[in-house]
Symmetry: D3
Subunit: 242 residues, 6 copies
């Protein structure tokens, strides 16, 4: 098969991250991967929800939603169905996995991922963009005197891969995703360790060999994402990966 946009099978879409897209949140980023665009906004609250306030650590959480104009069909607002719940829990867990929650102190950071334009891979783009907004919010906290250093143990990026007509493809666009036999999402730390892996057969169960190929192509595919994050974050990136 031939990909619509003439990409190689193991090639991701062009990625761009604009910081400060929104003026008021503590951290803000707009991430584009091809036609998929997600607005990421991080807000800090110096008050934890009661069920968390044990005095020992902070918290990072996320929300995920579609803007009504994200697709050709209007997305109904406020319909946080099972899919959105599943995705926002994934984003939150991933962000927490690279955060030093104790060092965050009695603070909660909420990262909102609002899909401005949807062409496949919105959950992985959200994670990659949310990490940038999170770092910016932590930097702002440092400027406000709430933190001494960035409470992060590693960087974070995420990408999808799948099997379409028996080919292993990286970073599926919507059209490819809707025809995929296997759909996988990989969240990796900067050092290449696993933060989260989710792989599901859409048609028939698949072999371990297929799984390993999806793993390999995704791990390589994160390089371009890390480059874009580094470009967006500048010296903050170097601080984390040193």
């Amino acid at each position: 098969m031939q990909r619509l946009d003439a990409r190689r099978f193991d090639e991701g879409r062009p990625v761009e991250i604009i910081t400060g897209f929104q003026k008021y949140p503590h951290g803000s980023a707009l991430i584009s991967t091809g036609n998929t665009k997600v607005i990421c906004a991080a807000h800090v609250e110096s008050r934890l929800p009661s069920w968390l306030s044990d005095g020992n650590h902070g918290w990072v959480t996320a929300e995920y939603a579609f803007l009504p104009g994200a697709g050709t069909e209007r997305s109904r607002r406020g319909k946080t169905g099972g899919r959105a719940h599943e995705i926002q829990r994934l984003i939150g867990r991933s962000l927490r996995a690279v955060t030093d929650l104790e060092a965050l102190g009695q603070n909660m950071i909420t990262v909102d991922c609002d899909v401005l334009q949807a062409d496949g891979g919105t959950r992985t783009a959200s994670i990659t963009g949310a990490f940038v907004a999170l770092v910016l919010a932590m930097d702002r906290m440092r400027q406000m005197g709430l933190l001494d250093r960035l409470p992060l143990v590693d960087t974070l990026s995420a990408i999808s891969a799948g099997v379409v007509e028996n080919d292993i493809l990286l970073d599926l666009c919507y059209d490819e995703d809707s025809r995929a036999e296997v759909d996988a999402n990989f969240v990796f730390s900067g050092q290449g360790n696993v933060v989260e892996v989710q792989a599901a057969s859409e048609g028939v169960p698949f072999s371990r060999d297929t799984f390993n190929k999806l793993y390999d192509v995704s791990l390589s595919g994160c390089d371009a994402l890390k480059a874009a994050q580094k470009h967006a974050l500048g010296s903050l990136w170097d601080e984390i990966v040193k």
Copy 2:
């Protein structure tokens, strides 16, 4: 008093309208008035809700919401309180007032106004931007063969005015709005007729003379908005006002 951004009392903020901000809706516009930014997306459905399907006319409706990152404090998602209800009903009524609903046929257009950044005047910016998205969606319908002409009787723009420390100010920013003694919103047709007027005292009731001054400054203030709409719509604008 002196305005924070050194504007004259009767001067609106800089306005910019970007069309096609979202790729997939039938009509899309991003409007900025100063720091206030609203994403407007218009979707067409060729099916009316059952309570409207009397066979004689179409419908135009609107929804209005804040993105979580619109302000310094995070806006909670899906909390469509009374204020948002009131505003989205105003937007919908205003759009319908310049639409020839019979000529629209058995179609419904929904215009979503999502506030990306909030610095006062979000409801009037929404109306001004929503009109542009509406025209673009109607033009798309024409291209799809659903319409012969743009079913519009006039253009539409809206602006706020108020009284702050006894001064009549045009186009209040958030800081001014929160100190206003009188708060008014004017929606005018292109020919300068009234589509909707809403004026409310925030402190003590105000005189008819004050009301008339708010009216005058708002009517003049719409000129810059109309220029920006004309710039965004090009020949479509000329078609409507001919």
Copy 3:
């Protein structure tokens, strides 16, 4: 045209206000304007909602709903749609505009307006009746030792006007309202200042001249409402307007 009930164009419907219609609320009034009837009940709570308790002022709020038997078609209970939200916010803002919130102390008054019978003009009848219930509740507070004086800066009444078949009509009944080309609601203080103005075109935008005529007829139309309020409140009325 000829009005169904043979009224002059600038003539309001007969108005009657019965106080103490309900025995238990702190203030109670039943207002009738023609066939429109609204039950107004004011309750005082000496506890403010947390978001208001800054120690400096009290609060007045309102709710508005239809009784199931208010019309020929049964109104479904508990369906507080956008229209009801819009109206109850208008009632609350109007009541607050004539209340001295600081003098009210750390108290909240809720005025419920339940439409017993609906024949047009329910929102303006609600405001006119709610003001009476509010005054009675404040008087009760004074009797209970919670207030020294009535914390009011002026009286309040409201009326609708509209354009039907090019005629300017005062106080539209339901049948007129459903055919109106322009629909306006005016809330005036006792001294004739503007508390709130809302005017909307239902068909085509309208001229400033039309707006001014609606204003004039509404201002005059409040005289009969004020007389009925004065009759209902007796010496309490004189205390406010002195």
Copy 4:
């Protein structure tokens, strides 16, 4: 003990039923039993809900709610808790027990019982008043040509009784009800048969003898209710009981 209003233990409160209290419903009644007042409105719909449309019979249902001003404390609107659910199911079942549902045809009648003023016994007053509104609505249906005769097999009235400080009392007011050791509600047909009986111990379980005394006093107590219903319905009453 002595009853607050000096009634005999087996004496009900004064009862009054005003028909046509609301102008627009198909049947309307305001019932007062002492200080308890309930607005009853019956609407007819010639369309059954899908789960009922088996073609063989109609349906009668009821809703029950408090107006916000019914008591000294404001009742929150739209909080149809378990108690209201229980009561409205009781009202509906009772009305259906005296209705010939087959003769009603493919029609549904909804009777809304809105408590205007609450001083105990609101559920039984609702049943007694709802029956009057139901009959009036059926008579209207006959006038509209939807029915040939009143589809009723008997009349219906209801009253409460209880044990307070070991005394058997008829028709408890709120103060008595809140101190009752046993609380019972009896719904009887005009011929004195049981439509529904509900008796509950509020403190310790009670004897069969006590139950029988509650039964006796309630059956007698319905005479005054039936007289008021007959007075309100005039010849319609005679038609049913003939």
Copy 5:
């Protein structure tokens, strides 16, 4: 008529109560009466809801729901309609009627009744089983040092009876219940006093004589339930009835 399972008219179904069916709640019982099975779980919380915390007494409450697999048609989850509300209020009231709430101290016990299999009489089986779970939870509280003795004034059991084709039947199964002309539920204390009685005509109103026969058969029918409860509770039963 002949009963499907060849029971005598005054014969209840076989009853079995298994304690400790769930390992973790403070009290647990599975009750079966014929094919009807209910899982009863009692949890203790040493914190009262704010509206109860007057310092003088504890509280017992109940919830009632169907498992999706309880019947041939799937029961939709989380649809606590009016029927379930009515039933769970009945269960709660009945349990409280035999509880010494003052002796319970500042504790709340919630008994959940989840219908595992439904073949009529689920509300009465719930009460009979919930009593066992309640006693077990109280015994656990005593073991935990929260109570000195079981705070119960009597035992509790419940059974249904009805009229089917003019016959008085005890303990109706679903098929009988759906054809019943009269439907009654009796809750008795161990000493044979009335805790709650509910009887309703499903067709035409019924006579006092019928009511008395339903009463008699139900009172006798509780003997088998009490035997099963005694068998399940062992010495705890003797402690209560001594």
Copy 6:
């Protein structure tokens, strides 16, 4: 470390599956894995939801919830939070992956998984038990003449694994799960292919080597589950795996 129940690290808990636990659903199974117990009920509907009725295939879906008595703390009913949504989507996807949806025809099967007792691994136990209930429901459909054969492409079982104090453990109980550094769930087809894999770091990201060890131990661990399923299903199992 030593496991509380003295299991080897790569040893699952004892598993038992009881079919026909509920009498009325089309398929019913109770699965126990150690102290974890889940009630699985499958209901067939011969009507698809409108968004699925394209005429080409059927559907299998699942719901997952806790019974209030599943744990030491009472689980609040009807609180289907994000976690439950995520799990029930996983169960549904897994069941569909081994179902021949076209062969299922225009039928929908809903499998409800209600956790009776929770001690870790409820989602994987649900999948393993739900598969049994699904097969039984399909067999019932065949008996009813709705199907010619079991529309299944393979069998299905699921198990968890994790890292606790650097040890790779199979089938975590609650206590182990709450201390796990890595938490993984594997859903395998009978032939050992991947249906779904989900692995998440709870603390720091983990290596590919760790992931592979989790995979290996889980794949082996499914043998005991398959044996229990085969025991429960008898000849139906042989039909699928032939």
